[in-house]
């Protein structure tokens, strides 16, 4: 359902709310939102506010450019993007399609990739599409709505900090992940990437709409709230799985991902209960007494109990006072193809998916 609406603009002031919301939607992964927020504010200052458009605002054959940073969060926190990487990608797209892109889209609204597109759109002088391809954060390139919608992944364009541009013509989403990852490693484990360049017509049903506005609303919910946790829980429509303290943390790096287990011991009303989180960059499965209470692709986020700010998996520390929230994913991920792509088995868990609202 698409309702016509006034054209919105992303202002300097809104970047902070967007960043907070993206951190929550990052479900523990997606990278730090701060560098993206700083870059976004600077780009708005230099190039002006960024119009936020819906698919209805674009001509049917307008090119939508989904952009995302790919790589290790720790690396992008240190080796920050150059400002010309989106320009080089847009130029390459124009060479390939014979016309320039008409709007930028975030590939992943969760984490840093949800905020940085504001900077990229401002730098390119383009509007930002109020949509993304995940509705959250996922660790792999093929875990996007376009792949689930059956759109062939036949083009990936990457630009790195040194100035290189790489165009890949993969045969499918799995190959695009494999080759893009190899290029990213060669580029120093951080690059900017466009994949699934789509017309506005093709976007319908193949992207998750309204997620930029949603992230801003989530970020705003806690602003000045007397009880930030309650405000956030209500805005998300989330289930509060447990409030407690981080009692154990077991992290290991395998296959390029940080995998691990975090154990939260209940405090206050939840005393005596224990929740275990299975992590692969993002929080994937929440277990209590061996029973699953929430699982991917539904969203599981750890927030600071006092402030309701999201805590990334890399920032989890023994003793932190946290609350674990879970809420339903976009319906697209609950289709058979969606679950095959990003359901529990896609991450190696031998679990049949059950929606969070049925089991939490």
């Amino acid at each position: 359902m698409k309702a016509p609406r006034m054209q919105a603009r992303i202002t300097m002031e809104e970047v902070a709310a967007l960043a907070r919301g993206c951190a929550v939607l990052g479900t523990g992964g997606g990278g730090d939102v701060r560098p993206g927020a700083i870059a976004a504010r600077r780009a708005i200052r230099e190039h002006g506010e960024v119009p936020l458009v819906s698919l209805d605002d674009l001509p049917a054959d307008a090119l939508v450019l989904p952009l995302s940073g790919i790589g290790a969060p720790t690396v992008s926190h240190e080796m920050i993007h150059g400002e010309d990487e989106p320009v080089r990608i847009a130029e390459e797209i124009e060479r390939i399609f014979g016309r320039p892109p008409a709007a930028v889209m975030s590939s992943e609204i969760g984490g840093g990739n949800g905020v940085a597109p504001v900077a990229w759109a401002a730098r390119l002088g383009l509007p930002l599409l109020d949509a993304d391809a995940m509705g959250r954060a996922f660790p792999e390139v093929q875990m996007v709505s376009m792949y689930v919608a059956g759109i062939p992944a036949n083009l990936v364009v990457m630009a790195d900090v040194a100035g290189n541009v790489v165009t890949i013509r993969p045969i499918d989403g799995l190959w695009s992940e494999r080759i893009a990852r190899a290029v990213c490693v060669a580029a120093g484990s951080s690059a900017l990437m466009a994949d699934y360049v789509l017309t506005a017509r093709e976007c319908a049903g193949a992207v998750i709409e309204g997620t930029v506005s949603r992230a801003i609303a989530v970020g705003r919910a806690t602003e000045g709230a007397a009880d930030p946790l309650a405000a956030l829980t209500a805005e998300l429509g989330a289930v509060r799985l447990l409030t407690g303290k981080l009692a154990d943390l077991d992290r290991r790096t395998t296959g390029g991902f940080v995998r691990g287990t975090a154990t939260v011991e209940g405090t206050g009303d939840d005393r005596g209960r224990t929740l275990t989180l299975e992590i692969q960059n993002e929080n994937l499965v929440a277990l209590e007494d061996g029973r699953v209470r929430a699982m991917v692709p539904d969203l599981i986020t750890v927030v600071d109990t006092q402030t309701a700010t999201a805590v990334q998996t890399e920032a989890l520390r023994y003793g932190q006072r946290v609350t674990v929230l879970a809420w339903p994913c976009d319906p697209l991920w609950r289709t058979p193809k969606g679950l095959e792509t990003a359901g529990p088995r896609a991450f190696g868990y031998d679990l049949d998916y059950l929606p969070v609202e049925k089991i939490a």
Binding site: R41, R42, V75, M79, E83, A162, G244, R251, T254, G256
Partner: protein
């Protein structure tokens, strides 16, 4: 009989405290004097007072100074130097230039100019671009400044380019102090750069404090070794502090925690330092302050050096009842009811509740009810704060220190017991006097399975941390690795971890 004595001094915003400790760390004398605007006078007064109690002040061989002077300089934008800010990273990093998120007034005060030149490293140690030496020369020659701050991408793991830039600057413009980011902060470019720039801006402040200390010592005819306390509760020599003044910024809370541990004999505890305007709560783990996991903001700027994890609440001896969080501050001696003044303070409330005997006047009867309410509210605020820093662990003692420690109740919910050690009112100065010297390093090494390369890199990091501890004044014979932590990095071709090593040891014996 003691052959050598140590003086610990803590210059706080309100008071300057001093203590004398003997060889066996026994407290021989203590003093508390108001902090003077120029630091020197307050320092001299506290020194004089504490030395007056000694049979022979010449037995003093060492002086350790903790000061919040650098912090206040940043907060008040006072006495800061102008800094040429140079980043090595182009074409990377240009989406966020240096000082982008600084408050305008601080940037206007500090920035002499900024530049991003070609250079920097990838995570694997190869160059993003060769260092553009001509651009470095041009920038420093064309940007007159009191100091230069240099930050290269991945410099904590690969420092050669930053070091090379320091050489170029020396050759080009001579003796201007240079702040290199890899010596100050950890991974996280913007936070490390901010720390390096603040450090460079503080060189003049460090010189002023050092001169004040030297003057105060010379006025007493003392020839002693001098040290500065730093954020993690350890010491650095004066020469080292002159190069890394930013590292003194969290020393106040760190000293009070370390002092509380020593005075109470408890290594794992919650510490409440009750001052004139605020109460700082921290946690002792194994005798050292628990460190903050989050980036720490100083004067509105995010930095990433390690700081004690402190929770401050607006409760102090001078806090005005019914008008919190305001405080009468140093005017307490004239304004509080118990001193014959007309302003009801938390000191009056605590005295009325029978928690201490302070002042010369009984609190007027008409205030009784309001003062009692204030004590109840304060007790609740303390209990809530203790609960927040305790993270659900209620079995540790609470060590109460600071001049306002008597405000705290006999029992505090969430703490096993309340310990009030002797000399608690000068715990900060004691913490400075007993501190060890330390050094730390952060780098990236292969994860387990990296074989001999990994082992060699970890050994190198340990040696470097120990060398830095010795440079800071530690006895080379007794330096130990006191902390070694690894955080895995994701999405790298080869599994890797971020390695953090800290070495610490007692100060080397005085020469002669």
């Amino acid at each position: 009989m003691s052959r050598s004595l140590r003086v610990g001094i803590d210059v706080g915003g309100t008071n300057t405290d001093a203590v004398v400790l003997d060889d066996d760390d026994r407290v021989l004398a203590t003093a508390k004097r108001p902090t003077s605007p120029d630091v020197t006078e307050g320092l001299r007064a506290a020194l004089d007072a504490v030395l007056a109690g000694l049979p022979d002040p010449r037995l003093v061989t060492r002086v350790m100074l903790g000061t919040t002077h650098a912090t206040n300089a940043i907060l008040e934008r006072r006495a800061l130097g102008r800094v040429a800010v140079l980043r090595l990273g182009a074409p990377a990093t240009t989406s966020v230039p240096p000082l982008s998120e600084w408050p305008d007034d601080l940037r206007d005060t500090v920035a002499a100019g900024t530049a991003i030149v070609r250079g920097g490293y990838f995570v694997d140690g190869s160059e993003i671009a060769p260092l553009d030496e001509d651009a470095v020369r041009k920038f420093v020659a064309g940007t007159p400044a009191d100091a230069v701050a240099v930050t290269g991408v991945f410099s904590p793991a690969s420092a050669d380019q930053e070091n090379r830039v320091a050489e170029i600057i020396r050759a080009e413009i001579g003796d201007v102090p240079v702040s290199l980011s890899h010596e100050i902060g950890s991974l996280g470019l913007l936070e490390r750069e901010n720390a390096a720039v603040l450090n460079a801006a503080l060189y003049g402040v460090a010189r002023d404090v050092t001169a004040a200390l030297r003057e105060a010592l010379e006025a007493r005819g003392l020839e002693v070794e001098t040290y500065f306390a730093q954020n993690d509760g350890t010491l650095m020599g004066v020469g080292y502090a002159a190069r890394y003044p930013v590292l003194t910024i969290g020393s106040g809370p760190a000293n009070s925690l370390r002092g509380a541990a020593y005075l109470s004999g408890v290594a794992d505890a919650i510490v409440a330092d009750v001052g004139g305007t605020s109460t700082d709560l921290g946690v002792l783990v194994g005798g050292f302050p628990r460190e903050s996991a989050a980036a720490v903001e100083i004067g509105g700027v995010a930095t990433n050096f390690r700081m004690p994890d402190i929770l401050s609440i607006a409760l102090g001896g001078g806090t005005i009842v019914g008008a919190e969080p305001r405080s009468v501050g140093y005017r307490i001696g004239a304004e509080a009811l118990v001193f014959g003044g007309s302003t009801p303070t938390m000191t009056d409330a605590a005295v009325a509740a029978g928690r201490g005997v302070v002042g010369t006047h009984p609190a007027p009867g008409e205030w009784r009810e309001r003062l009692a309410r204030a004590v109840r509210a304060a007790d609740e605020a303390v209990a809530d704060a203790v609960d927040r820093v305790a993270l659900g662990k209620a079995d540790r003692p609470l060590v109460a220190v600071g001049g306002g420690a008597f405000l705290l109740a006999e029992r505090v919910p969430g703490a096993r017991e309340v310990i009030r050690p002797e000399h608690a009112e000068v715990a900060n100065a004691v913490g400075a006097a007993i501190a060890l010297a330390s050094g730390r390093i952060e780098t990236i090494v292969p994860a387990a399975g990296g074989g001999s390369t990994r082992a060699r890199l970890i050994d190198n990091a340990k040696e470097e941390a120990a060398a830095r501890a010795v440079a800071a004044g530690a006895d080379p014979e007794s330096v130990q690795i006191v902390e070694l932590s690894e955080i895995p990095l994701s999405y790298l071709p080869e599994p890797a971890v971020r390695l953090h090593v800290k070495a610490a040891g007692p100060l080397a014996r005085p020469a002669g």
